[in-house]
Subunit: 176 residues, 2 copies
DNA sequence: TATTGTTATACTCTATAACTATA
DNA sequence: TATAGTTATAGAGTATAACAATA
């Protein structure tokens, strides 16, 4: 998780204060006076800010729901990629998921010691090691992926299926 | 920065291998054989994965471009919020930006010691402290916000203005 | 010489508990 | 009693440098 500031139950909704509401826009007060509502209209124009806030919001729930499976976001991404790409190497995982090799070592060892993956010699390259999900790992991921899909549905409940698809496509245009 | 895996210059583009291309879909190979292209189609259906990847991609460039101003993403968000909300308190910053109070203390002290913000007694609450950007801080933020806007324009170059607006709105539907 | 995987390690970020001063 | 701000500290995440084994 990232930060667990006091939960806001109320939604911003551009509340208009008596002082600032005349033009229908919430304006920052010019002097040193007390602030009731905090204006974040500028930050909300930044894609980085919005993408980060949205990601952290989803990850917060992800950590709760996937904790029973002992999987954090990166663990989940690695396991899922191994499951769908039997024989994938650490180097390929790093390139695909934008991870650094030293940080993957402990993660792989942990998954192996839990009996979720196996390491087999690479058929063509003696340096590399092919990673494979065990039947235990595969069974776990079926459950974990279902939990992930459910939590995502909840977090994107305000979006129509079309909007959800659009959002995925537009995000991929940024990082791919 | 988050991770600096070997830069991928090529783009995925759903390359079809001879073995997997028959149905126009890239499939994971079923056996323990070598993997050429890594299939991430499942992860790409997850909003959390895509939002995080997009955010980190933008933040990576943000760190480079804003380093001359001595501002990291959170510093920038805090300074920007103070600038647009003179007299805002630490408590309000935490609630608005989803930060934890202990983590804000050192950040505020750093900004104050750099002469970018001032702390003034709160008019109505003796416990609270109002935060204000100094003229030096305001001048810095004018430059910093311009740099941020430029970098964002580059990172979202594949999007039309309409798509960019749509993306911002849809992301806010997730975390607000 | 270049690459895969690894070790060691440093640095940053985030989280929790507990304290003070004021309301 | 509750809240704003603070301190200390633990834990997780991310980073760089350097090495052995293989290509």
């Amino acid at each position: 998780m990232t930060s667990a500031a006091p939960r806001k139950s109320a939604k911003p909704k551009a509340i208009e204060t008596p002082e600032a509401g005349r033009k229908g826009v919430v304006l920052a007060k010019s002097s040193a006076a007390k602030i009731d509502q905090v204006d974040t209209t500028y930050l909300q124009t930044l894609m980085g800010y919005n993408a980060r806030r949205a990601a952290l919001s989803i990850i917060e729930l992800f950590l709760e729901r996937l904790a029973p499976y002992g999987l954090k976001p990166v663990d989940f991404s690695v396991m899922s990629t191994i499951q769908h790409n039997p024989g994938v190497t650490s180097r390929q995982l790093c390139a695909t998921l934008n991870l650094l090799p030293p940080n993957l070592v402990g993660l792989i060892q942990s998954l192996e010691s839990r009996g979720l993956i196996e390491r087999k010699p690479h058929p063509h390259d003696g340096r590399a090691v092919g990673l494979h999900a065990t039947s235990k790992g595969q069974a776990l991921m079926v459950q974990a992926e279902q939990a992930a899909t459910e939590l995502e549905t909840e977090k994107t409940a305000k979006l129509t299926p079309g909007q959800r698809k659009t959002l995925l496509e537009l995000l991929q245009k940024i990082y791919l």
